[in-house]
């Protein structure tokens, strides 16, 4: 028993760099030798999927890219999935960005799903700018931008991301404000993002909306799902993986789930050993 306690004490006091290396290996090995683990859909993801399915076909939808390269691994797979899902249902997509580098994330996502020569209309599409989608681009101002979109979109966007006048673009005919969209989606990594869209976009206009968020935000955003202010939620990379499964296009999120699971196991093991070591040390200190 004493030997076991000493071993736990040693493990509890292991150099932090050893833990870094072990977590690194737990992530790296499953990525180098892909392991397939089952992905089970959670109710919030299913609700999200159903919410998009319920949009009347060939509607106008607003998709906001509210993230940058730093949170790309979590949000990008969701947004790519959402674009695929919406294009399959024939929606016209209007892309806005509340983050400066969101525009590049949007361009990357569009490039990923575009195949002009051999579109399978499931994962790749022959899409045309100003017919299937429009890049409205980035505007600084966070909630002020959303409030502006809710009252008069053309005051916020007089030109699109390419510098073309909004008034001259046929796809913009009939779009005055957020009420003219059938659905709002925000792929959000923080401020400005989901919270601002709910407060100044979805709630005041009553337009149905949903969001994909980083894991860190989930605990704060989830009450919006319970109240119906958000129709479902994609929660971090696992949410993206579940969504990829639902739309039947396995991607980078599903590939990352094995690495995610193994890293969690390593962390849990060290939390357990750390706590056991703490209690053993406390007991020994009390004894002597």
């Amino acid at each position: 028993m004493k030997f076991l306690e000493d071993l736990i004490l040693k493990l509890g006091a292991v150099d932090r760099r050893v833990i870094f290396v072990l977590i690194g290996l737990a992530v790296l090995i499953p990525l180098l030798t892909p392991i397939s683990l089952p992905v089970r859909e959670t109710p919030t993801t299913v609700k999200f999927y159903d919410g998009i399915e319920d949009i009347p076909k060939n509607s106008k939808v607003l998709v906001s890219f509210d993230y940058g390269p730093s949170t790309r691994p979590e949000i990008h797979p969701m947004n790519v999935g959402v674009l695929r899902h919406m294009l399959r249902n024939g929606h016209q997509i209007y892309i806005s960005c509340l983050w400066p580098d969101g525009i590049y994330m949007a361009l990357d996502a569009l490039e990923e799903i575009t195949d002009e020569d051999n579109p399978d209309n499931v994962s790749t599409f022959d899409i045309k700018e100003y017919e299937d989608y429009i890049l409205l681009g980035y505007r600084p101002g966070a909630e002020a931008v959303i409030k502006g979109l809710a009252s008069d979109l053309r005051k916020v966007y007089t030109v699109d991301a390419n510098g073309n006048f909004i008034d001259d673009i046929e796809m913009m005919d009939g779009i005055k404000n957020l009420n003219d969209f059938a659905y709002i989606y925000s792929g959000s990594a923080g401020y400005p993002g989901t919270f601002e869209w709910v407060k100044y976009g979805g709630d005041p206009t009553g337009v149905p909306m949903s969001s994909g968020t980083t894991s860190v935000q989930v605990n704060e955003v989830i009450p919006y799902v319970q109240t119906g202010q958000l129709i479902g939620l994609l929660a971090g990379m696992p949410g993206a993986a579940e969504y990829e499964k639902l739309i039947n296009v396995p991607g980078i999120a599903i590939q990352g789930m094995a690495a995610q699971s193994f890293a969690h196991i390593v962390i849990v093991v060290f939390i357990v050993f750390g706590n056991l070591a703490f209690f053993i040390k406390q007991r020994r200190d009390r004894k002597y």
Partner: protein
């Protein structure tokens, strides 16, 4: 593969591994990556904010094509009409900029006061409506609704509604400081702490999950850049950093952590 793509991969691999090198200890590679990130981010946001907001929305409204200020020679055609009110934000903006001079630093207060007042007014309604009223409404549930099952893991149920009501009330009561938290009231507020702890635990779990997701993303990119297409960028940078860091550590033993 184009030269710019290969160069981009080498830079990305260097910056990623430079940041990772901090896990060993603070070192020049980490410092380089950190300073590049801060500098590039600040410059990028400043440039993009100017060209996407100030240029079209401010100058475009003050100096529209054929506008009353066209005689100045400044004309920006963004389909806007002249609006004299936009002189006000321009003035406040200039006042904030001139505050870099000690003598005029009082001028920044006007701009800050305007921004704070607008933000407070804008946020007050949104917060009250979405985060207070809607949440209170959603917490007012029919606990013993006949249409609900007794227990459900995922959806609404009588058990979940009871947990919701007790959790909300006890956690709120924990922050009620006008009565000493002893006796039955103290036991009820202690229950609130447990609910809060569960919430903090979930937040911690989600935070860990998020960080691992980001690590997965970086590793995916590093694996991609280690291919022959990118001239083995990851491996090249990794060897360079390890060798240089080893030499640097040997030269700077006094900085070693215990």
């Amino acid at each position: 593969m184009s030269f710019s793509a290969i160069l981009g991969a080498w830079i990305a691999a260097f910056l990623t591994l430079g940041i990772f090198s901090y896990l060993y200890r603070d070192n020049p590679f980490y410092k380089i990556a950190e300073h590049v990130f801060v500098g590039v981010s600040a410059a990028y946001v400043a440039a993009i904010s100017f060209w996407t907001q100030i240029y079209p929305n401010l100058f475009g409204r003050l100096f529209p094509k054929d506008g009353p200020l066209a005689f100045t020679g400044l004309e920006f055609d963004f389909n806007h009409e002249f609006n004299i009110l936009y002189l006000f934000p321009l003035l406040l903006g200039v006042m904030m900029l001139v505050s870099v001079f000690q003598k005029f630093n009082w001028m920044a207060r006007w701009g800050i006061a305007y921004t704070v007042a607008i933000a407070a007014g804008l946020k007050a309604f949104g917060y009250l409506n979405s985060n207070v009223l809607n949440q209170v409404k959603a917490s007012s549930v029919d606990i013993f609704s006949g249409s609900l099952p007794l227990f459900s893991l995922g959806g609404d149920s009588i058990f979940n509604n009871i947990v919701l009501v007790i959790g909300t009330l006890s956690a709120l009561m924990y922050f009620y400081f006008s009565k000493e938290q002893t006796g039955n009231f103290g036991r009820f507020t202690r229950l609130g702490i447990y609910f809060l702890m569960v919430s903090f635990g979930a937040s911690f779990g989600f935070a860990v999950m998020g960080r691992i997701s980001l690590l997965v993303g970086r590793f995916n990119d590093l694996i991609e850049y280690s291919s022959a297409d990118y001239n083995y960028a990851t491996l090249g940078v990794l060897v360079f950093i390890i060798v240089t860091l080893g030499f640097w550590s040997f030269q700077n033993p006094e900085r070693k952590e215990n």
